[in-house]
Symmetry: C2
Subunit: 352 residues, 2 copies
């Protein structure tokens, strides 16, 4: 059953006659198109793809199953005439201005219905090809950690390390990084979304490293926390507490488990071990986007399904002192999960 | 007069009581904030900046003139209460869903009014600091072309050349590339937005190279077309025709000139010289975004102003054969323009 066919089933659930897909990642998922301007319309009987003259040739090579139409660069004017009945659109993606332009050109009797998230629901469950791509992207990230272990960190700037990671990932076969690498030493590691600084990494600190590769469009995502020499005992204890929490969280992951429960047990485990915890979610789906569904977070609805690919990444952050995060990428199965990440989780000390 | 003060003048023109600024580039322009979650509200008497807990410390260092408020990560809920009267919002940026969430929480008597493009109007005219940053980013791009001339192109893949450009720009001091470099050899150069391929660049072809550096947030943008050895006469003739057109177009640029007229003369000049032309605009503004106002294009409204920074980039594209584009970055002045780009425009033959 093709992706578009499965989407049609979701349309029926929402009593939609068609869905307008404007988010480029969703367009890629449904059609294979990788250009920067395209959209599609899916109905029970029709699959229509539109792009402008710049991408017509590329679309011919990439897009199967969809009939193809050349449109003006704005797309929306030409799309309006193709909609019918209750027409779902991506209200989380379409701007107010684009929506107004679309509404202005609608044929009589067509109603625009907010319907964000339908393609994302399909994307959350990966097929074999997708799992292969994510697995290969994960191996490239593993190799980057091996390189970091070999090259060391102390005396280099965070920025230089981040750049060397990006270059390593590309040279190892990635299309690009899946996000700009995080390299955050000492107290800077207490900021979960730290940007690399032009600051030398000292000896004897913890360094949070968060990186991923993108391969054939699919992302990997892995965090490790290295030491640059001997640490204070409480830092080692905190590391072991996060490691134990992360291992425990992996044991909680399985199809059918409520997403917020997986998050809650890890959150409580860190808190009970260290008295402090983490503000971010325990994990998130990874695929064509490095952050997608399902989320493992206090506010997350729903349960895990076999074929979800999620991160499991508890951390601890002590402002002004240090941060620790350990993150694996896993495939959810009926009775647990397969961990894709291969790099070890014992505390790695470099520059030792 | 501060940027926010000048914005207040534009509010009066539109009879707005306040403006909600949600586009992060606009937020940066007004406040200096470079994080990934922030928004501001500007009224005649108040300048308010909101971010979430992750960025409070960073905002304290970066944001002056605005009072600062810590908000939840969604921001919009906390913003709604701060709006008053006729409240302008960025309808080109805000999604239908975010708009609905905002409307839901509005105090009584507040009306949301579409008002995209106000901050962009200010951004189109650069001040001295901005011109300095763009000038420095342009010098880095010039140096990348010197390196390409020295290193040659034939026998390398387009992808490898593109990566080496990105790395050179970073190593030369850029924060990052302002866009992924274009390296398009032979017939691939006939696609104005070609992606670099894993294909070796042959000898004796034209190669379109389009690259830019970002420095302190500001972009540069430069295109040159190199030859990898002796060319057929008609390719040399086409090159010289584009070069003459580009030189002529520079002569047309001055404050007060209608944007669409500058575009039209270059478009006609290429057409009369070669019988074919280009589908894209002659140029676009460059600043915090690599594509911003003013545009030089057939559909462009308005006239050039002193302090605009625009590209001037005519080209010619022969499907299946070759493409040529030559692009400088210039500052518009009262009586002409200052060309920022320093790399020569005579046909450069590498690998010769």
């Amino acid at each position: 059953m093709s992706r578009a066919d499965r989407l049609v089933d979701l349309l029926a659930e929402r009593e939609l006659d068609c869905l307008l897909v404007t988010d480029l990642v969703n367009v890629r998922y449904l059609t294979g198109f990788t250009g920067t301007n395209g959209a599609c319309v899916v109905t029970r009987d029709e699959r229509l793809f539109l792009t402008d003259s710049r991408y017509v040739e590329q679309a011919k090579q990439q897009v199967a199953e969809f009939s193809q139409l050349e449109a003006s660069r704005e797309l929306l004017g030409d799309l309006a005439a193709r909609l019918s009945g209750r027409a779902g659109f991506d209200d989380a993606q379409l701007s107010v201005k684009a929506h107004a332009a679309l509404a202005d050109k609608l044929p009589d009797g067509v109603e625009l219905v907010p319907a964000a998230g339908l393609v994302e629901r399909l994307r959350a469950v990966k097929d074999e090809d997708e799992l292969r791509a994510i697995g290969a992207a994960t191996k490239i990230a593993d190799a980057a950690y091996e390189r970091l272990r070999a090259d060391g960190l102390a005396g280099r700037t965070e920025r230089e390390v981040a750049r060397s990671i990006s270059r390593f990932l590309e040279d190892a076969g990635a299309d690009e990084v899946s996000f700009p690498p995080i390299v955050a030493a000492g107290a800077h590691g207490a900021l979960p979304h730290a940007s690399p600084r032009d600051v030398e990494i000292p000896r004897g600190v913890l360094v949070v490293l968060d990186l991923g590769a993108r391969l054939d469009g699919y992302c990997s995502d892995c965090t490790r926390t290295f030491a640059t020499g001997p640490l204070e005992d409480r830092q080692v204890e905190a590391y072991e507490a996060v490691r134990a929490t992360q291992a425990g969280a992996l044991d909680e992951v399985r199809a059918g488990k409520a997403c917020k429960e997986v998050d809650a047990s890890a959150r409580e485990a860190v808190k009970s071990r260290l008295g402090v915890g983490f503000d971010h979610g325990l994990g998130h789906g990874v695929g064509l986007d490095v952050h997608e569904g399902p989320r493992l977070a206090p506010s997350a609805e729903g349960s895990l399904e076999a074929g979800n690919v999620v991160t499991v990444e508890p951390g601890v952050y002590l402002p002004g002192e240090f941060g620790i995060r350990i993150e694996d990428l896993v495939v959810v199965t009926d009775d647990g999960c397969d961990v894709l990440t291969g790099f070890p989780k014992e505390l790695v000390t470099v520059d030792g």
